[in-house]
């Protein structure tokens, strides 16, 4: 049983046209329930495309994507996952509470059940007093916490995140990483997390998947042996730096291959 299972998935944009792009080629990946997996790589390596295949916002050109033991399309219809983006994407005409309630509205929950769950989620992200505020009255970090609360409102087993902290400053970012781990531990949610940041990927993940571009593929998977409990001291541990080095080497190896070092082409 796995939370996400991808078998030989490929994605080609503009197939057969002059601007054809091999966004992903023969990607296979399994994510276990409760696991935190990060996808890292340079721009154009297909990490966001891979996330959108899992979310069924894109269909693979070839291969299979299974989420929660069903085809990805069915998992989307069943709202088996929640999603958060780099932009918090809150609806500015809705209060914070109404934003959190949106996925529940679409599921047809009644008013009382929605209000109860919204309160629970506001507690979870530790912003209980901001339910009746409008998004623009909140800081960027607070907005992103509300976006996470909204993504988890229906208690989905899987959370998909596309560079959710990319627009935040470094201090807020580290605080949010701690918050995300706390929330995931409390809810037992599986996470697939796209990021540009090596320390962020290592700090959060059980496994870091290193990807490379043209065509997008998985080049290395780094196991992070930091254990379940992580706090600010984690960032000073030897294992943390070792994992960072391993990820960096994975990224650098592919960079060397790209500029023609380390092979006999020239």
């Amino acid at each position: 049983m796995s939370a996400v299972s991808i078998r030989n998935a490929s994605k080609v944009f503009n197939l057969g046209k002059s601007n054809q792009v091999d966004a992903l080629r023969n990607v296979s990946l399994d994510v276990k329930p409760g696991e935190f997996v990060s996808l890292i790589g340079p721009s154009g390596c297909g990490k966001s495309t891979l996330l959108r295949l899992i979310a069924n916002l894109l269909e693979p050109t070839n291969g299979d994507v299974v989420v929660n033991d069903k085809p990805a399309a069915q998992a989307r219809l069943d709202q088996d996952y929640g999603m958060a983006f780099q932009q918090a994407g809150l609806f500015e005409w809705r209060t914070v509470r109404k934003n959190i309630e949106l996925p529940l509205e679409l599921k047809g929950w009644d008013k009382n059940a929605r209000a109860l769950r919204a309160n629970e989620m506001l507690q979870l992200v530790q912003l209980p007093e901001f339910g009746d505020h409008y998004p623009w009255q909140l800081s960027g970090g607070m907005q992103q916490r509300i976006a996470i609360a909204r993504a988890l409102a229906a208690h989905p087993p899987l959370l998909l995140m596309d560079e959710p902290f990319g627009a935040l400053d470094e201090m807020t970012r580290e605080y949010m990483q701690g918050e995300l781990l706390r929330i995931c531990a409390a809810t037992g949610t599986t996470v697939v997390f796209v990021t540009h940041s090596i320390p962020e990927a290592v700090y959060l993940s059980n496994r870091v998947v290193v990807m490379s571009p043209r065509p997008g593929r998985i080049t290395k998977v780094v196991d992070v042996s930091l254990g379940g409990e992580r706090n600010e001291d984690t960032r000073n541990r030897t294992a943390f730096f070792e994992a960072i080095t391993a990820v960096r080497e994975g990224l650098r190896g592919m960079h060397a291959a790209h500029v023609g070092l380390g092979n006999d082409d020239r």
Partner: protein, 259 residues
């Protein structure tokens, strides 16, 4: 009570420079007419205009009612049609390419040509051509803006809704329509004064001589400049009334947002 007092005071405080400027301007105007002994056909004194305005008030009010009714009916009809069409256009993109050139072409035809044509279609005393003209002008302003509001939604919002397996109808109701509402109020702010101006102008091309526009032109034709100015004053007030109405509508909507 105190809060209301404060609000009144700040509003008055904000308006004070405008009031002082307006009073000085009128004073200068009056002084210049008297000092240089300007002839009434060249420039009329504000006091003479005001005298005409008060003594002919019933007539002016009647004319303003005629023009105002035309503008209001045209504004409402144009808004309803514009909103309806923007929904159709945003739903069926291909129609956009068919209708936009037609809309641009129609918009490029001068008002008086259309009014003349419309006047021939209806009886000479009918107000309908003028209302159609107002509705047409309003229609394009509303159509362009609301269609933009319905289509220019944040890509993140759309992806999010698709991740919730939301139907197109749900996306329309929960994303596109709320997104378009501020665009509607902006378009009304432009369309409301335009409706009044169109109602006046369309009176210049025949038909009943009962509105503000036709009263202004006939008074000028008879060299009754003070009377013409009195009708111009009424036209200004009517335009302001429409504009104020659209501003109040918009601020009511914004209050709902900001709480």
């Amino acid at each position: 009570m105190n809060r209301v007092g404060n609000l009144l005071r700040t509003t008055l405080g904000n308006a004070l420079p405008a009031i002082v400027f307006g009073a000085l301007f009128l004073g200068f105007w009056e002084w210049a007419v008297r000092f240089f002994e300007l002839k009434p056909y060249f420039l009329t004194a504000p006091s003479a205009i005001w005298e005409q305005f008060t003594s002919n008030f019933t007539l002016i009010r009647g004319a303003a009612t005629v023009s105002g009714t035309n503008a209001l009916i045209g504004l409402l009809a144009g808004t309803v049609l514009g909103v309806a069409m923007s929904f159709v256009l945003s739903r069926f993109g291909f129609l956009n390419q068919l209708i936009t050139p037609l809309a641009v072409a129609l918009n490029a035809v001068p008002i008086f040509v259309l009014v003349a044509v419309l006047n021939n279609m209806y009886s000479i005393t009918s107000e309908i051509p003028r209302r159609i003209m107002v509705a047409l002008v309003v229609y394009f302003i509303v159509l362009v803006n609301v269609a933009r509001g319905l289509t220019q939604v944040s890509p993140t919002h759309v992806e999010l809704m698709r991740s919730y397996a939301a139907s197109d109808v749900a996306i329309l109701r929960k994303v596109r329509i709320p997104n378009a509402i501020p665009f509607l109020f902006v378009s009304l702010k432009i369309a409301a004064p335009a409706a009044v101006i169109t109602a006046f102008v369309s009176e210049y091309f025949g038909g009943s001589q009962n509105g503000l526009g036709s009263r202004i032109s006939s008074n000028i034709a008879n060299s009754k400049n003070a009377a013409a100015w009195a009708y111009v004053l009424a036209a200004c007030l009517l335009g302001l009334l429409f504009y104020l109405f659209s501003v109040v509508m918009e601020s009511l909507n914004r209050k709902g947002e900001v709480k």
